[in-house]
Every structure is written in structure tokens, then in C-alpha cells.
């Protein structure tokens, strides 16, 4: 079964899948292990492509909006596995942690499986996404504390 077929069978939209794959890719090893351990039943799976480390060339644009150029590469680990049900899951994660890629692929497969999707979405993806949003907000609030408040040098106009 191809990935596209799996999506159709699983009735999950591409937009949904892009979102959860992005969330899984940003999750830490421990977070994923914890979520995996907490699963009531762990489905058997076989690797279609054992976790493999490689590179992605990162492109950017001249001036931020112009023509593309190659900035440099980043390490990435990818994995593809098949559940006994036949559903195929993919994991593409930044860095060189093979277990992370494997877990991301396993969750991707479970999320394409109608029987497990809602549970994994709620119990894993939403939690991970919330943690990521919180980390991002925290970083942003720290940065916001360094925002310059200009004031004009006029008597009585300065902030107290």
C-alpha cells in the first residue's frame, strides 16, 4: 500500500497528516518514548526502511524573498515501517536519533489507523503540540522582555 492509499483508507486529510508529522518531528526522544510507553497496546511493526541518517540541503532566498540559494545542509533521520494491518508510517526527524525517527513513524502509522487515530491525536499529538507551543511562547516572552521602549527627552514625558 502506498502512503497516499493509506491516507485515503485512513480517511485522514493531508493537512492533518502534515500537521502531526511536523509535531512528531519536533518532539524530543524522551517525550516520544514516554508517549509510546503509555500506549495501552503497542502494535507490531516491520521496517520497510530501517532508520537511516542522511542530509537535507537547506535552501533560503536572497534577500529573504528573492531567488533560492543553498545555505547548508542539516542532518536528518528517516524511517518507514509497516504495521501488521498494512498501514505504512513515515518518520523524518532532524538530527541523528534513530529511535526518534522510528517512534515518529510508528505514531504516524497509528494516526492513519482509524481505530487508534483519535486516541493518539488527543493523547500524544495534542500534548506534544501544547508543550511545543509553550516552549515557543516562553522563548518569545523572554525576547519580548528585551524590547526597547523609546522615550523622548522631554520633561514630564518619561515613563515612571
Amino acid at each position: 500500500m502506498t502512503a497516499q492509499a493509506a491516507i485515503k483508507d485512513g480517511d485522514a486529510g493531508i493537512a492533518d497528516r502534515r500537521r502531526w508529522m511536523g509535531v512528531l518531528a519536533r518532539a524530543g526522544r524522551e517525550e516520544l518514548e514516554e508517549a509510546w510507553t503509555a500506549l495501552p497496546s503497542k502494535p507490531a511493526h516491520r521496517f520497510m526502511r530501517a532508520p537511516e541518517i542522511g542530509l537535507v540541503m537547506v535552501q533560503a532566498r536572497a534577500g529573504g524573498s528573492g531567488n533560492p540559494f543553498n545555505l547548508g545542509e542539516m542532518t536528518v533521520t528517516r524511517c518507514a515501517l509497516r504495521l501488521d494491518s498494512g498501514v505504512v508510517g513515515f518518520g523524518y526527524v532532524q538530527g541523528r536519533d534513530k529511535r526518534r525517527a522510528e517512534l515518529a513513524a510508528a505514531f504516524d502509522a497509528l494516526l492513519q489507523t482509524p481505530e487508534t487515530r483519535d486516541e493518539v491525536l488527543r493523547g500524544v499529538v495534542e500534548k506534544l503540540a501544547a508543550a511545543q507551543a509553550e516552549r515557543r511562547a516562553l522563548r518569545s516572552r523572554k525576547a519580548a522582555s528585551t524590547k526597547v521602549e523609546f522615550f523622548t527627552m522631554v520633561r514630564g514625558d518619561n515613563p515612571r
Binding site: 502506498t2 502512503a3 497516499q4 493531508i14 497528516r17 502534515r18 508529522m21 511536523g22 518531528a25 519536533r26 537511516e52 541518517i53 542522511g54 542530509l55 537535507v56 540541503m57 537547506v58 535552501q59 533560503a60 532566498r61 536572497a62 534577500g63 529573504g64 524573498s65 528573492g66 531567488n67 533560492p68 540559494f69 543553498n70 545555505l71 547548508g72 545542509e73 542539516m74 542532518t75 536528518v76 528517516r78 518507514a80 513515515f90 523524518y92 526527524v93 532532524q94 538530527g95 541523528r96 515557543r136 511562547a137 516562553l138 522563548r139 518569545s140 516572552r141 523572554k142 525576547a143 519580548a144 522582555s145 528585551t146 524590547k147 526597547v148 523609546f150
Partner: protein
Amino acid sequence: MYVAVKGGERAILNSHKLVAEERRGDPALAELDVRQIVEQFRLAVDRVMTEGSVYDPELAALALKQAQGDAVEAIFLLRAYRTTLPRFAVSRPIETRRMAVRRRVSAAYKDVPGGQVLGPTYDYTHRLLDFALAAEGGVGAPEADLAEETLPDAMPPVLDILDGENLIEREFADREGESVFDLTRESLSFPAGRDQRLQNLARGDEGFVLGLAYSTTRGYGGSHPFVGEVRLGETAVEITPEELGFSIEIGDITVTECQMINQFKGTAEKPAQFTRGYGLSFGHGERKAMSMALVDRAMRCRELGEDALYPAQDEEFVLSHSDNIEAVGFVTHFKLPHYVDFQAELELVRRLRAEHATRVGRDGELREAAE
């Protein structure tokens, strides 16, 4: 003449052992953990990632540990490692306009939407050694302040939103779908497109690019720049794996971006306008991004109809010498055995001296004869 070409194996092996011991330093002190380097020597890690041209903080930290903190040696290690890996994909161009900003300043416009955000910068520190960092017991866990509100989710580029009069050149993508030059697969070729120049500068040695950038502002390039914007933050990387057929995000990387603007007198066809130079580095690499932006602008002289008079404007000179691994390879290979070469040169110098002596002697005789 016979010259020994073998030998030295034992000396080399023992040299490796000696390096290992010196690298470890005093064993009574705790050994550095790679994660400590990632966390506490982050700016060194960022430089190694940028010039090593591989974004992977743990690998860069490992390289720094192995190289005893020698940035260029660490960059060499990272470059060598990358050749062992397959390439899975080329990303879609990252969208720095959607960056989760942690620092954003403009020297050209004071009032920018979202404000001037200093972020984690050394700019306004006093550059006095802080002996508290050397104190026993360390600094504990310092905490940053937290604002009530986050910064806006996306901060549009300053130059795009504040230049309503079209006084600053726009950057358009008009080569969509064309192949992008890749220095990891092709050799330098001239004349170089901007894609080749930007990739070369991004990987280029910070010191070299900084020095060239400085030269453009000191009369060797006629540059009077303003920082339109410098920003630091996290940007998503997106790829489209063949087997999926749609794009997915594979993580976030930290980048520093610099939009530099420069005066341009205009030509018969084009009215005067500010032109742009662009700099981008992995991690927090502001000095590098700013330098890159200045040299990028200097090398745009040809397309802007300016005379190329100075080193920073000479793309062949800049691109051929910016890569520190190539430069190190050539400069330092001179310390490797050149015994045969040198013997040959010795012979040559002996012969020239002998000829000189003969000539002087003959001239002397002739002079005497003339007198």
C-alpha cells in the same frame, strides 16, 4: 639521490596518543561533556555548523571537543563527516519572514512594528571580564525576565513594510524552477551567479569575510551601509519526500539574517535607490551575517553597472579564497615533507651561486684588465 619515503608510523601513532592526552588535559578535572559544549559554548557551535555547512549542534560540539576548541579544525571534521552521508532531499526555501523571532533590530528605522527587540546580545555589555563566572560554585541558574505578552507570531521584514516609496530595491524570485548552484557538487565557476556567491559566503571563513566587509567601508568598495534589519530566531525546514508527495516540516533551525542597505547612485536607466546585500548564517552568527551581506553587495557591482576596482568586488578573488578548509589545506600542506622538492631547489641555488661567482670573477678580471 636516495631519499627515505617510508617510516614514521610509530612516531605518528605516538603523536595521536600525545594529542589524546593533551586534549583530555588534567585528568583530576571533570571531562567536558558534548552536551555541555552545546549548551555553554553555543556560539562556537554555531560557527562550526555555519562554516562546516552542516546544521547539527551535537556533531559540531563533538568536533569542537575533538579539536580542542580549534574552530577551523572542527569545521574540517564536520565537512569530512558530511561526505559519508547520503542526501535525502533539498528543502523548500526557508521563510525567514515567518521566523519565531528572538532578536530583531533595525538601524535604519526606529519605529518598526513589533519594536526593536534586543534579545540575547553582547552589544550593550561593558566587555569587562566577569570574575563571577570563574568563582567557585559557578553562577547557578540565572533567569531571564518574562514579558506578559509574546512577540507577534510573525514579524514581516522591516524593509518590506516600511519602504512605501520604493526607495529600497525589492528582491523578487524570477528564477523559480531553475537549478540552484551547489558547491558541494560543482566546482566554482565564473562568472558566478548570486546563488553560488551566497552559498560560498555562507560557508566562508568568518574572519576572511569580516575583513573584506570592513575593507568595503574603508574606501576599498565605496560602501556606506545601514542595517535594514538583523533578526535571529527559529525557522521551520520543510521537505517534500518523494514517497509522500506532499511537504512536511522536519524541524526548526536557528538562523541569523541580515538585510543590509547601501546607497546606489543610479544609472542612465535606473534612478538612485538603496540596494541590498543579504547575509544568513546558521545559529546566532550576527558578525558573519552582517559581513556576508556587505560582501554580497560588493560583488553585485557587475549587475549594478559599477566598476569592480577592489578586492571585495572581485568575485573570483573572494570566492576562491573564502573557504577556510581549502585555504588551510593549501597553506598548511607546506609543513608536510617536501624533502625531494627542497633538494632540487638546493641544487638549483648552488648552481646559480656558482654561476654568479664565476660571472663576478670574470667581470672582476675584465674590470682589472680595463683599468
